[in-house]
Every structure is written in C-alpha cells, then in structure tokens.
Symmetry: C2
Subunit: 316 residues, 2 copies
C-alpha cells in the first residue's frame, strides 16, 4: 500500500507508553500478516504474559457489548488498564478501523487507559481470526491488566474464545432457553462464570435455576462456575461479576490451572503457526498445482488420498 | 482388541457384492484409524467416484431424520442403492453400532439396497468426524448410487457437510425463523435445495417467502436454489425434492461444477491427511515433549511463537 517499513521498535516502545496509535498500528501489522509480523512478535515477547484474558461469549442479543461496556467501567474504577478485542460481527464495536468505533463507549472514548479494537471474524459464523492471539499479545505487551475478548456465541467461536481466555464468561438471558439448551454441552465445559443478564426480565429465576441444575451435571472440579445475575444496562451486578472474575484469577494462580492453560495455549499457537508454514510449503512444492494434480488422480480413482498425501509430504 | 488382521481384499469384494457386514467392517476400520486404513483406501480407489453425495442439514427439530427416511423410500422406488451416514448426535440413527440402529427405519430394515451407518461426531457441536470422507468412499465403493450424509445444522457442521456433498439440502421449518436468521449468511452459500418441512404448519408461507427473499440477495449463479415444501412424515413433497436433486445432478454434470467440487474435495482431503501426518511427525520429533518445551519458553517470554514454530518445522 506504499506505506513505509514500520519502525517496530519505536511502535512497541510507544505501545508500552500507552500510545493508542502505536497499539493500533501493531495490531494492524499482525492482522494484515505484514512481513514485519515476526519482528513484532519477537519485540513483544519479553513484555507479555501479564494480562488476564477475559473471554465473553453468548448468543446474539444477550447483551455482550453492554456487559463489556459495564465491565470496562468497573475495571477502570479499580484503576486497571483495559484492552478490548471485539470479534463479534454484530457488535457495535465491530466494523471500525483504528481502535474500532466508539459507539456506546461514551464513558471511555477519551480514556487513555482503554484500548478497543474490532477484529474481522473468520467465516460466517464468527470464528476467531487467526490473528486474534497475536492481537492479544499486542494488548498484553502494551500493559493492559485485563484484555476482554468479546465473541458471538454461535458455532465454535465460544469454544475458540475459551481456548484463548484465562477466564470465560458465558452470558445468557431469560427467554433464550432454547439457545442454552442447544449449546448446553459446549457451554458447560467452557464457562468459568455464568452471567444471567437482563435479570429484571420475566423468566430470570427459571433461567438461573436451569443453569444451576445443568451445573450439577458438570464433572467435579475445584472450581464451580458461579451464576451471577446482572442488568448490565444499569450496571447492576457488575461488581459481583468482577468479584467472581477476581476469585477465578486467584484460583488460577493457586491451583496451577492458570499456568497450565497458558502452556496449552502457547503450544496450540506454535503448532498452528508451524502447520500454516508447512501448508505454505506444500503449496510451494512443485508449484501451486501439485495438490491439484494429485486431486485429479484421486478423482479419477488412480490413487487414494492417503497415497497422494504421502507423495505430497515426501516432497517437502 | 485381539481381532485378527482383516482380509481387506475380501471385505472390499464383499462390499461390492452388497454384503452389509463387509460394508460395516470397512467403515469400522476407517473410523477406528486401523493400521489397515491405507490398505482399505487403496483397495477402494478404483471403485469410487460414482455415488451422488447428498448432504442434509438443518436445525434440531426440523425433521432431518424423517426427511431422510422419506428420501430413502423415494430413492428405493427408483431402484437406486442408498447409503446413509448419520453424523447427527441427536439423530435416531445415531448411537448404534453395526450399521446403526433401525429406529424409524421400518420400511428399510431388511432392504439389502440400503446401508445405514451412524458416525460419531467431533466435538460438542456436531462437527464431522475426520473419518467421514473415508466412510463415504466405502459406501461409494460398495455401489451406492446415492449417499445421504445427515448432520445437525449447528455451528460449522453445515459448512462441513456442504464441502463433502455434491448436493446440499438445507431444511427449515415454520416458526424457526430465528434460526434461519442467525445462520443466514452461511446457509445461503451452501444450500443447493431448500426444503421447508412441516409445511402444513402455520407460518409455512411466511418462512417460504422469507427464504425466497433471502435468495434474491445471493450472488448470481447458473443454479438458483429452489425452495420445496414438504410434509416428510406423510411423504408429501418428497418426489418434488428428488426431482430437484436430479435436476441439480444434471446441472452439476453439464456445467462442470460437479467435477470442480470433486476436485476441490479431493484436494482438501489430501491436504488434511498430509497435515495430520506432519502433525504426527511434529509430535514425534524430539519426543512428545518438544512442543511443550517450546511452549514453556513462549510462556516465559523467552521466545515468540513464530520463532518457536520455526524451530519445530526446522527439526522435521
């Protein structure tokens, strides 16, 4: 795009000083898979590993963005620096360019302690972009105490966000019982804290009761996901949520589960990058047509896919 | 399990003769990732590529299994040999062992022209097992004219089934408008034929109208997905569905799109197997702890994930 080579060192220094433009530029570099991506990753490495990553997921309409806004307010009152990655195609935070748009972020629009960034999602079901872990590292390296990752809870994204997060909040709302039911199996395993939002609505008691009854079926663990009731639009219950998040952070640290999650996360990230590199090489081997030529032979019944894969791997 | 080495040649010959036990055993071999898997794939290769693969997806409760049963009946009336792979955790076909259980399959339980097999799904959201393409090859090699793959339309499984199928049927039902809405973007791209099932219920006109209006937003194509109304439990509309499926088959052949889909499918399959093999080798390199040791260094901020991935790939 005719842009000059970025001065990665200066950008990382700027981000660590809290300069929002440096943070935004670094996220753009990782998101665009810039040639500087590896340099950015290397420069950030020594400064990462401090932030608590808070995943927020739930079905459309449950109030994820309103809850995120309320949580930001609460975290700022505690004088914590906050980053937000919104990977929800329907989020009011999404669709913006530099640092996302500020719709409904009134309180935080001019707050230098808050970075907000929307990320493109992958596919139509709100899957996390491959760049999300790298964007998390940017916000972590920029000194955020907490990074909130907001995704729509459709399909596999709720499992994906849980694999990135230290603490996963699953939001439900009264009258969305079917959604809870459908996602039940997945939700039980990923939720560290359940939030029944819009708890002033009819059916909140029933939803809370159903969640608690589901939880009795969960495998035993030292950590039992609490169920917290909120009316995020009025800020009600948000302090309670943050107290549970803090308890979970303490439990992660004392039980060793936090370290375990971070190691698993890093291992997956390394493996995904390595597989991507190997895929690239497979495409390069014998020109881009190598896989296609093998595919033609499989379609013709001349060889089976395993033999074709062996041939491909053999060429690496 | 102490089972003797399978005689793959005899099993493939048996399957081609229409012996259901041979078909079941071959699918078990590929599903269990038996050492004989490659031998099975090689023996089947010359006999595959004939079957039309029909994907059936839609939200829970829409009537996928009833529709599948009705379609089997119609296909059998046309003297076609039919295979069914049910990858829906909630399907009455699922959960069985050899050839699946026969619940609600009354008409076909003793019909040698019908093979039914339930497959384990991957994850909690009904994702297709990696073995599904191999099981498809078994049914194709066994001489099925049509193989129906039934999946629950939650999350990414509807996109996955479309990537396997020649023709994808997306089922909707009146009063499930929200589901249609949520999955809209994904559904539009994968559906070759829409089926409004339970069309005797209130709201069927509205659902049909909404689908047609959605379709006007689809990118232009030589093939416009038709919207067919059925009451599958009474067999109503099923002939119409089969007529559309046959039209689609003819279009796939005349437009070249059928060949293109098969080539893309084979290329993906080869790549997935190759990546799996490379992942296995990564695990083997330097013992199973290699990735974990690199992950520890990333967590400690001693190196970044890209450098760690380079190191891993370099060891291959």
């Amino acid at each position: 795009m005719g842009r000059r080579t970025p001065d990665v060192g200066a950008l990382v220094a700027g981000a660590r000083d809290g300069d929002p433009r440096s943070v935004a530029r670094l996220i753009s570099l990782v998101e665009q898979e810039s040639p500087a991506l590896r340099e950015v990753a290397a420069a950030l490495a020594p400064h990462t590993g401090r932030a608590q990553v808070l995943g927020i997921t739930g079905p459309p309409g449950v109030g994820k963005s309103t809850t995120t806004t309320a949580l930001i307010r609460g975290l700022r009152e505690r004088d914590l620096r906050v980053g937000v990655l919104a990977v929800d195609p329907s989020s009011p935070f999404s669709g913006g360019a530099l640092l996302g748009d500020r719709v409904r972020m009134g309180d935080h629009a001019d707050d230098p302690g808050v970075f907000i960034r929307s990320m493109a999602s992958r596919g139509h079901l709100g899957g996390l972009s491959w760049a999300t872990p790298q964007a998390l590292r940017v916000l972590d390296g920029a000194g955020c105490d907490v990074v909130v990752v907001e995704t729509v809870g459709v399909g596999q994204s709720e499992l994906e966000v849980a694999s990135l997060a230290d603490t996963t909040l699953v939001l439900v709302a009264p009258g969305m019982g079917d959604g809870v039911q459908a996602a039940k199996a997945g939700i039980l395993e990923v939720a560290d804290v359940f939030v029944v939002n819009k708890a002033d609505r009819e059916g909140a008691d029933r939803t809370t009761r159903e969640l608690r009854s589901m939880l009795t079926m969960a495998p035993p663990s030292d950590w039992r996901a609490p169920v917290v009731r909120t009316v995020a639009s009025e800020g009600r219950g948000v302090d309670d949520v943050l107290a549970r998040v803090e308890e979970h952070r303490a439990w992660l640290a004392s039980s060793g589960e936090g370290d375990r999650r971070r190691r698993v996360r890093a291992a997956r990230e390394i493996e995904a990058i390595a597989v991507g590199e190997l895929r690239r090489r497979m495409g390069d081997v014998g020109g881009a047509g190598a896989v296609d030529a093998l595919a033609d032979r499989v379609v013709a019944g001349e060889c089976d896919p395993y033999a074709a894969a062996d041939e491909l791997v053999g060429r690496l």
